[in-house]
Amino acid sequence: MQYSKQVLKHFKNPHNQGNIKNADAIGQAGNLKCGDVMKIYLKIKDNKIKDIKFETLGCAAAIAVSSATTDMIKGKTIDEAKKLTKEKIIKKLGGLPPVKVHCSMLALEALHEAIKKYKS
């Protein structure tokens, strides 16, 4: 198993790491399989994701995925954000080892959860 350069780069210096005090929506997802947790904080204005932050307890892939995903979503509309797929995230990261593909789902689940909460 080997991580791509992009994965290691994101892991070393993750973007959008932290939390948002007065977030408009928070989503959390847990990976029951290996015991990892990810939390996403959204700041939304005019249907646009103005700011996004994450907190992750997980492997290097999970942290890199969190960083890349938040990068890809920042500034997008909610509808655009919903269209993000795990394939796109994995591509952005220059690939993930097969056993780590499920980590990319973690970020999407947390995102979808946050959006759902915001809408209701």
């Binding site: 290691l8 892991f11 399989k33 290996c34 992750t56 307890l57």
Partner: protein, 433 residues
Amino acid sequence: MNKIYLDYSATTPMDKRVAQAMLPYFCDKFGNASSIHNFGQTAMAGVDKAREQAAKFLNCEPDEIVFTSGATESNNLAITGVIKALLRQDFGGQASKQQRIKNPHIITSSIEHPAILEPCKKLEKEGVEVTYLPVKSNGVVDIEKFKKAIKKNTALVSVMHVNNEVGSIQPIREIGKTIKKINEKKLKDWKKLNPKERGEKPQPIYFHTDATQSVNYLNCDVRWNYVDMLSMSGHKIQGPKGVGVLYVKTDVPIEPLQLGGHQENGVRSGTYNVPAIVGIGKAIELIENRKAKKQGKKKAGAAKSVEANNLKIAKLRNMLVDGIIKNIPNVVLNTDRKNAVPSHANFSFLGVEGESILISLDLEGVAVSTGSACASGKLEASHVLLAMGIKQEIAHSSIRFSLGKYTTEAEIKKVIKILPPIIKKLRRMSPEL
């Protein structure tokens, strides 16, 4: 960047003297050791020497040494080979009629290497009974539980000498002694019976130990430990990869797993891997010499394990442990230092995932391993830590440091400096739960 290797439990760098001993056997002394001509005999002389080196170290006869491709094969051969020999009706030669047994029972431990557990599970599917002994919270098999697990049809016991993940030392000598007593009593009772009615001799229990992790540090004398079979590996003892030893006591029935040219008395067919065999012999000899030098000639036994190399590594390990505990809050030491070899320190850094620690350390040039589910391929936490009663989330944050022959004080000091900011950074990233 100077790299720091603290994963000796995974593999060790080869001693240069071992490499040197191997070199002539690649190009010059290339013969097939089974050939009768001079080329073959020159190669065979190398194999013979290694066999003697191994036999001396284990205190057994040279023809009780079987060279294999490594500890995995040794373990598979010991478990499956013995059970198959006991089950097989038409197994000629070694397994006499008396030794046949219908429903053999195996006792092993829940913290064995997969190279023991997997063959046991496979035999279980084929109808063989297997007991997996639990361990105490310090990772040591409870000898009383072992005694209770013995049944009338117990035919094979396999308990590792030292656990590879936490370094815990298993009471193999006590287990061996217990088995010996039972075997002797069975035979004595049998002899008292009327020769016409007593039937076949009773089936003895055979005892195997996987000594892969102990050779560097503990006394592996097979007589002193009362073992019938013992596995070891070349690359864990500053020797080459792809070679191992299985000691098999003369009277233990064993069926080969691979058939062919009848090498190793038919127990293990396959062209002799001469350079590697020469290498493992040399690696064993270097350990033997080191141990002998320190203790003088006088005593075998426990004293053999206390020697300078162990003390040096134990000192470095303790320095690492103390440094980590002093500089990082919320850590758990999973290695019970009183019952472990000096090389291991298995820690849990609560609130952080192990693989992310491993990768962070790797980016700084430090090599360790983890029992986290995330790093396992199967996404399952270490079966050893779980068997010790450690919670899933604590196993999730475990890191194994394993030190060895070439570890230095400067390296340990550097790790103690590098580690705290890594843990701090990763902890900051974690959500509050």
